[in-house]
Symmetry: C2
Subunit: 208 residues, 2 copies
Amino acid sequence: MSIKFYTSQQSIGVASHIALEESGLKYDLVEVDFSQNQQKSGDYLKVNPKARVPSLVLDRGVLTETPAILTYIAQQAHESALALPHDPFDQAQIHSFNSYLCSTVHVAHAHKQRGERWVNDESAIKAMRENVPKTMAVCIDFIEKEMLRGPWVHGKTFSISDPYLYRISSWLEGDGVDINRYPKVKAHHSAMAERDSVKAVESYFTAG
Amino acid sequence: MSIKFYTSQQSIGVASHIALEESGLKYDLVEVDFSQNQQKSGDYLKVNPKARVPSLVLDRGVLTETPAILTYIAQQAHESALALPHDPFDQAQIHSFNSYLCSTVHVAHAHKQRGERWVNDESAIKAMRENVPKTMAVCIDFIEKEMLRGPWVHGKTFSISDPYLYRISSWLEGDGVDINRYPKVKAHHSAMAERDSVKAVESYFTAG
């Protein structure tokens, strides 16, 4: 099986990148340089016509959307730390958490720099941007109080929810949210940063 | 196994409601009346502190988020039309499609009536609302051209993506998008409307 992984610096692709490192699967990484608008280039649109990252190119075809990519990697790497639980309810809690991240938390964050997805009006884009510290704080507060069991998202067992939350909690400082107000989220972030997978991913782009 | 299903009229809960009807599983439906703000009542917040629908209350606990609920129902009803394919890539395409609906299409729609999720400013909320026909048309055009294989979303085999798309394509008229411009989406909508599961769900609230 060959895996080609398209991603970009600082994007949500980091979550899948960490999962690939955790999985032990072999893959080739292709950087999509957003500073050069490569996500809108003809070559990349053939891979992913959504002009987004990440994309996973497999023998059978292309797979997009972070929750689907994470689940696929977990299924392929069922002897790794990412293995999905056999119990359907436990597995559903992973899908539920990841769905909340993609449909609510990532969307709240995207209103900072991607406001043109939803409006053309400059003053509306500015209003969206200014509100991001508040909406992101509401989301992280909810994760802190209602979701994050600790040390990992779903308790003692690591899962694909952990690289996903790590990527999003890395955005907090830039989003104007003080992670120190959320001790469980902060401890999760620190524990993730100690993992070899995260160190490998974090050094990938800085090492050039 | 007992299943209590919390949902509301016209909401995304319709997708899970159809799936429950397709599944053959027994369940009790509890209506959450948004016109009375019941989703914010103390009783409902104990079920789902997100103040959203749908929620599935099971022996083990509560499950929220449409993609997770649909996947769980499919796993419990593996002899029904909803059964997940065994092949991981085929299964991943279902998760990918559903993830696109929850993170992009439903979010585009939500800018019409739920703008206060992202801004306080009245003029920004108005700008968001006015843009919905355009953003929803872009999403549906993408589904028409790039995703919907026909007759069902993933081809010849029905899946949990089908009730989910049906629910969202039912919003198009109210969102200012003419479904007649998208023949595959329209044919999908019509084929869904013929199913007993959909008829049962559509008549549920109108019958009182």
